[in-house]
Amino acid sequence: MSKLIYATDKGLYCEAGDFYIDPWRPVERALVTHAHSDHARWGSNKYLCAEPGAKVLRHRIGQDAQIEAIPYGQKLTLNDTTISFHPAGHILGSSQIRVERNGEVWAVSGDYKLDPDPTCAPYEPVRCHTFITESTFGLPIYAWQSNDELFTDINAWWEKNKRDGKTSLLLAYALGKAQRLLKGVDTSIGPIYTHGTVESLNQVYLSSGVTLPETARLSSMPRGTKFAGALVLAPPSAYGTPWQRQLNPVSAAFASGWMRVRGIRRRRSLDKGFPVSDHCDWQSLLKAIHLTGAENILVTHGYSQILVRYLQDQGLNAGTLSTQYEGEEETSTAEETSSDAVSKSAEETTFADGRDSADEIESAADKVEVQE
């Protein structure tokens, strides 16, 4: 009998249930862990997700998509399997998908975190025999600070910029990270404006029942509005664009787990980095894996080989599973607009491990060949 879930060229496939989980090519039936573009792709016939994430998913993959949603924890029979969605704590509606066949239980975590996040349901461990986990930040150098410490830092940065007469431009994923940050900052410091991409997702969050502080779309402000002292939330792709000019003088900060390492921040020539992620840090990954009680651990995107080797050192049965998920991109342009996201084909996928930088090398190498 084949494995309950295995990787194909279209995505993670469950043969017994005849469905895919987060497929990267169009399929008949897709179960979706969450709406980030590397997990929720356009083009499949039927989608199934957890209820709190239905509106976000619709926003990302289009009004015409056939999306079915069930509450967290509710069991559903699909062919020979029973499936259910369980909170993953990553973004609104994010889920781990539990798949059971004849008492054998697998859990696919998608992306997840253990740290508290007021914009989504907290991570819930799923007991299973086989756990499929991501490993975006699977190195012990990655250790997140508490939300209290994080927001103390962000607020202090905003206040200082305000004193210096600058706009605070906070760059973060438009889906999930932006709302989490919005909900945590001290709104008494000043007004908060949003980039259009962030604002439209704020609206989806609001309509999904998440309360958020008041914000205004930057582009809706009259010409000549001064933004000094304000906080502006924008996706990373807005950095260094002409759009940013209206914010001058500005201090830009990138909110990303990668900002934990100085070199990565400095390479991007950013003033400030806040190490915050909606993924697990090293200790959380280990804790989550322990909580599942799983005998077998399959590791997807990130520092998978390192995590696998560590788990094997601990006597666990661990291996890697090759997927096209990206985790938190260091040079992210993935979480831009929904239209960008859906048009991105699997072949164009870039990887958090710097594969897109490799492309630059290739082009540099081409250049030499052409010239010499």
Partner: protein, 543 residues
């Protein structure tokens, strides 16, 4: 430690020099003199000898964080900096302290060196446990003796000047030579009594603009003095009050680097300031620039090195003569004074390159040509003569301040040369298979470095080994054979042609790029921009 760490973070978090200067000046205005002294010591790149062996530091953090060797190695590999890796791996602190920097360095860290291993480890753990992640990074950097955070000596000088009201050349002078980071030293830096620095003070350098058109647009050749553009270290040699000072263009005192010039300068009368180029020079010829760089970068100048790399001062201007500032005198008059001073009796007899006063002082010869075409012909010999091209100076011009258009032009033989930053590296082939010798270079565009050229050649073996070591210690990412390198090293990249290319991410393609030299004197922020590179496209051929 908290105050100093805040400064460290502030400096680390901006690439703008004005903000760096402001942060430092604010710090220097409020710190205690002893902390200030140590801060100047660390920021100007002075190092304590390694206080605890690297392997022991690693050992200690592995024990604390419960990590195996390979997991520590992977972490180090991902971060690329030992001090930072350790700071990130340690478990969160359970104590908190705010001990002044002086006490940290003098009473806590320096004594570590002489302690037995067990006690060293015990103390390290105790100290780490009092500090935040950034403070730990600072502590580790002090221990490992690597404190490079993108602040040049020049910026420290500016900040001290701003905080103290003492002018920059005085501060620069006070920071030279041997000093100890003491309270007296720091209060001395701030002293308004500037007598001590007067004799050493250089004049601001006058800089040439690249020639943007054909030289005949400059008018009659008779109105111009032409000479070779030497490829050395632009310097001012000052002889006043029986003392000699040699300043580089970066206003760094480099006297100690050139003892033979110091000795020869004793023959010059007091009240003399000469502008020229220090060259590595033997048997009437310029030696390669990288040899000259050794004279600057080597920690100690051995007799052997002095013998192997002799130097000369190729003088081309005089700014002070008999104690009088002569910068407003016309160029041709100044030149006469210079010739008379350095080659007495040979007034303007060509070639004036014949040294008389002391063969180490040479007067940059005038190119005696009558037409621009003749000059263009001469210029073709530049490569052979190991010069960068031709300098054109208006005969009746005064010696100006800074870079001004109009009176001084540089007509380089190869205008296609940019300063770019090493961003990716790949291993070489054949005998260089174990070394990273294939480099990709980037220039600035919108605050980022975009790749523009790949080059394999141009460095000598010793330099390749140095760059290779840097790459291994500063790899940010690996993908296959390629490493992303911490952008820091700047190289002058020479190339023969450039054109638009939609196929390349940068939008331009360069022809036959190669490394002209390693610009150890340039911080990466000063590398060229894509705009500068693109502006060369319509500049014609390389000749």
């Amino acid at each position: 430690m908290k105050h100093f760490t805040r400064l460290f973070v502030a400096l680390d978090e901006t690439t703008k020099t004005t903000e760096k200067v402001n942060a430092m000046s604010e710090y220097f205005s409020t710190c205690t003199p002893t902390d200030g002294a140590w801060t100047v010591y660390l920021l100007t790149g002075r190092k304590l000898r390694q206080l605890v062996p690297t392997a022991r530091l690693a050992e200690c953090v592995k024990e604390q964080a419960g990590l195996s060797d390979w997991l520590f190695a992977e972490s180090y590999d991902a971060v690329g900096d030992l001090a930072e890796t350790i700071a990130l791996l340690l478990p969160p602190p359970t104590n908190n302290s705010d001990v002044p920097l002086r006490e940290w360095v003098e009473d806590r860290l320096m004594p570590l060196r002489s302690k037995p291993e067990a006690e060293q480890k015990e103390l390290l753990v105790k100290y780490w446990n009092e500090l935040s992640t950034s403070e730990r990074l600072v502590m580790n950097k002090i221990i490992t003796g690597s404190f490079r955070i993108g602040v040049s000596q020049l910026l420290v000088v500016k900040a001290l000047s701003k905080a103290s009201g003492v002018d920059e050349p005085t501060i620069a002078h006070r920071l030279m030579g041997d000093w100890s980071p003491t309270e007296e030293f720091f209060t001395g830096l701030f002293s308004s009594d500037t007598q001590d620095a007067d004799a050493s003070r250089p004049y601001p350098f006058y800089l040439a603009y690249p020639l943007e058109q054909e030289p005949d647009a400059l008018g009659e050749i008779a109105d111009w003095l032409a000479e070779w553009k030497w490829d050395g270290i632009r310097s001012q040699l000052i002889r006043r009050e029986g003392k000699t000072f040699i300043w580089s263009r970066g206003e760094e005192l480099i006297s100690e680097r050139f003892p033979e010039l110091m000795e020869a300068a004793e023959q010059l009368p007091d009240g003399t300031v000469i502008d020229g180029e220090i060259l590595a020079w033997a048997e009437g010829e310029v030696l390669p620039f990288n040899l000259l760089q050794k004279r600057i970068t080597r920690k100690s100048l051995s007799k052997k090195l002095l013998q192997e790399i002799p130097v000369a001062l190729m003088a081309y201007d005089i700014l002070e003569h008999n104690g009088i500032d002569v910068r407003i005198q016309p160029m041709n008059e100044r030149r006469k004074m210079l010739v008379q001073l350095l080659t007495p009796g040979a007034l303007d007899a060509a070639p004036s390159c014949r040294g008389q006063l002391n063969s180490i002082f040479r007067v940059s010869p005038s190119l005696m040509v009558s037409t621009w075409d003749e000059l263009a012909e001469s210029r073709k010999n530049s490569r052979e003569l190991k010069v960068e091209g031709i300098m054109l100076k208006r005969a009746d011009s005064a010696y100006g301040v800074g870079r001004r258009k109009g009176d001084w032009w540089k007509w380089k033989v190869n205008p296609f040369s940019i300063d770019a930053v090493l961003i990716y590296a790949q291993r070489g082939h054949g005998k260089r298979a174990s070394l990273y010798t294939d480099y990709t270079f980037g220039v600035w565009h919108d605050g980022k470095l975009v790749p523009v050229a790949k080059a394999y050649s141009g460095l000598d073996d010793a330099e390749i080994r140095q760059v290779d070591a840097f790459i291994r210690q500063n790899t940010l990412e690996k993908f296959g054979p390629v490493r992303t390198v911490k952008p820091e090293l700047v190289f002058e990249i020479a190339f023969e042609g450039i054109q638009h290319s939609p196929r390349h991410k940068s939008g331009v393609a360069v022809r036959f790029p190669r490394i002209a030299r390693w610009r150890t004197d340039k911080p990466m922020q000063e590398a060229d921009s894509l705009e500068t590179l693109s502006s060369l496209i319509n500049g014609g051929s390389s000749q």
